[in-house]
Symmetry: C2
Subunit: 212 residues, 2 copies
């Protein structure tokens, strides 16, 4: 047997790189559909087209796969918020943030569900990252929003709850996809629903319902 396990190896071979990527891709499928405890190594191994011991040659434990997946997703997931620009125009910044988040819900629903699963279970693996890097990033952007409100460019509002509401409304289309499809029925559950959602959310955040 090879002494330097994949996990311990510094220098990765070409095969190691490819196989690990293949495994992570398969694991994302399985974990996002069934959650951590609901998924089995056999399922992941089959989805990756290899035997279970072979899979465990590349990742020492089930948790190791999950952790790496979560880490990776967490990084890319927050990218839209990072590019949120203080120097930009409030309207277009908020608009495009909503649009980007909605596009991610459409294009990366597995990632969204993986994350939702993790949070729902109490975020046992990433609590520190939520309280650290995530909080810092949100604090920073909240200050930007607050300054826009002070300058009279947008209505005064709690920036944290604004961000929460953008997160929840957009991710809803990935995480609660089954429900959305069931309610909309066959007619409107195609890809067009994302355009409808985008129009609605833009209008909502920009103008509200303008109740008289």
């Amino acid at each position: 047997m090879a002494i330097p396990r994949a996990a311990r190896t510094q220098r990765k071979t070409r095969i190691q790189e490819e196989r690990q990527e293949l495994i992570l891709e398969a694991a994302l499928d399985v974990f996002s559909a069934s959650g951590f405890r609901g998924s089995t190594l056999d399922q992941i191994a089959e989805a990756a087209g290899m035997s279970k011991p072979n899979l465990l040659y590349y990742f020492r434990t089930k948790e190791a796969i999950h952790r790496q997946l979560i880490d990776r997703v967490l990084t890319t997931w927050l990218e839209p918020l990072r590019v949120f620009d203080a120097a930009g125009d409030p309207e277009s910044e908020i608009r495009s943030y909503i649009r980007r988040k909605l596009e991610m819900a459409r294009d990366f629903p597995r990632e969204s569900r993986l994350f939702a699963n993790e949070i729902l279970q109490g975020a046992p693996h990433i609590e520190d990252e939520l309280k650290g890097p995530l909080k810092e990033l949100v604090d920073e952007k909240a200050e930007v929003i607050r300054s826009w409100a002070r300058a009279g460019k947008i209505a005064r509002c709690d920036p944290y709850h604004l961000i929460f509401s953008i997160w929840s409304t957009t991710q809803h289309y990935a995480d609660f996809d089954v429900q959305v499809r069931a309610v909309l029925g066959q007619a409107n559950s195609g890809e067009g629903r994302f355009e409808d959602a985008a129009r609605f959310l833009e209008a909502l955040f920009m103008d509200g319902l303008r109740v008289r």
Copy 2:
């Protein structure tokens, strides 16, 4: 052994009533925290303060417990939408719907998470109920909203996505509680965050951000 199992018995004894309630309460704790597959009968039995065989004397399978729990939650969960009144004033109807949903997220977070877990996993047990009763109810209320828009009482908007956005923003505070707390930090993660959320959401849905 008793021939008439609890599940088969028509006439329930006092004890059966109490114990089943006790089990459902315990199961709600466990299922909402760990999901269906993540929960074990041993956990539920311990939370209910009884042995596993005893628990299985009242519910024949793990699924039976889960199904009854889901059924019950689904009914109460949609109550706020049912009382949504076509004859009422649009502004106060929408306002109080948001408030009621937010109160439910605050007062019944376990129920919200149980439901979220189920949907996230693809709603394997309740797909029919989503496509049937739920869809019908939403269709009905969507028509109400649409009529308000036609009458010029609220801005024209897609009523389905309006309902989705109310669901997602309010339930977010139950389902993503860990994240909300982590981001808000110790200062704002007390009960006061629900009042802040209520103020924000009312303002959002009524007036938007009024971007200039």
